[in-house]
Symmetry: C2
Subunit: 175 residues, 2 copies
């Protein structure tokens, strides 16, 4: 147990740096021998997210749910919602086992924004967070009520982004 009282952090907004801030936070915490876990939503396991490999080597446990998002793939809303609910149950189990000092819920804000999870479902989960656990929620579209529930919230606000100039995502930088 590393923290007397773990907080809830949120990284949201349309700018670059939400997931990377969570990963950087994980690295800092690992430097202090925190036990770190990450539950990620909407990340296709077939894609080449190579930071995952390094995080795993650093003994970060990584769990993936709802790998497909209807915005990008041919997948049914109901199926995604089912996967997201499965993730919530899984996270609740993690909470009960108290295995981690820091847990990242990557892109969970998107699950809320797009209606795969309700505020009530997420709030019920957050109310069960073990006291010592630092929890990080990332993703665009964090709702006002979710931000109210958090202790720390940063909006990653896009000032400019190379995508706007037609530069495509680059391996090692954007993914």
């Amino acid at each position: 147990m590393k923290l007397k009282r773990g907080l809830i952090q949120i990284y949201t907004g349309d700018g670059k740096g939400k997931t990377t801030a969570a990963i950087g936070q994980a690295l800092r915490a690992l430097g202090h021998e925190f036990r770190v876990g990450m539950v990620s939503f909407f990340k296709d396991p077939h894609l080449d997210y190579d930071e995952i490999k390094i995080l795993r080597n650093l003994r970060v446990d990584i769990f993936r749910f709802a790998p497909k998002h209807p915005h990008f793939c041919d997948v049914d809303f109901k199926e995604v919602r089912k996967d997201c609910l499965k993730a919530l149950r899984f996270i609740q189990e993690i909470f009960q086992r108290e295995e981690y000092d820091l847990l990242i819920l990557d892109e969970i804000n998107v699950a809320l924004r797009d209606g795969f999870l309700t505020e009530e479902e997420i709030f019920t989960l957050l109310d069960k967070k073990p006291q010592h656990l630092e929890l990080i929620l990332t993703g665009r579209g964090a709702t006002e009520a979710l931000i109210k529930k958090a202790d720390l919230a940063t909006e990653m606000k896009k000032i400019k982004h190379p995508f706007d100039k037609g530069i495509k995502g680059r391996k090692g930088i954007e993914f």
Copy 2:
């Protein structure tokens, strides 16, 4: 050489997540076998920044300049400026050697904001960036002209922060 054309990224603003986003970006890039370096300003080597240890283990080279900032320590403006200029010369040498695919200049925006470096000095440096190198500048107070010079800029905007409630910086989380 990992990128045909490396860009200039800026993370600025008063919210949490600037340095951690740069570190997370470093981790992602390391996953793709980028060679990564970091030059940091205003980070006291006696303080316990344990992410540094992990980054070093991952073969990120870390160089520190101007460890003291007058805001926190008893140090002379001229001395800090001298250290910052030394850093600029050092970065220029790094550029010439083309040793890295990604280079982080952590808190350099603060050196500009607080007048230890001029815009002209930094722009002269940026103009010498090797084409393939991705460069990340972090710190509060990036000027409008600096942002104009960058390809990507994110403002980490504080929505809420536990410091405002009197909660102090926590080992493993804030440092």
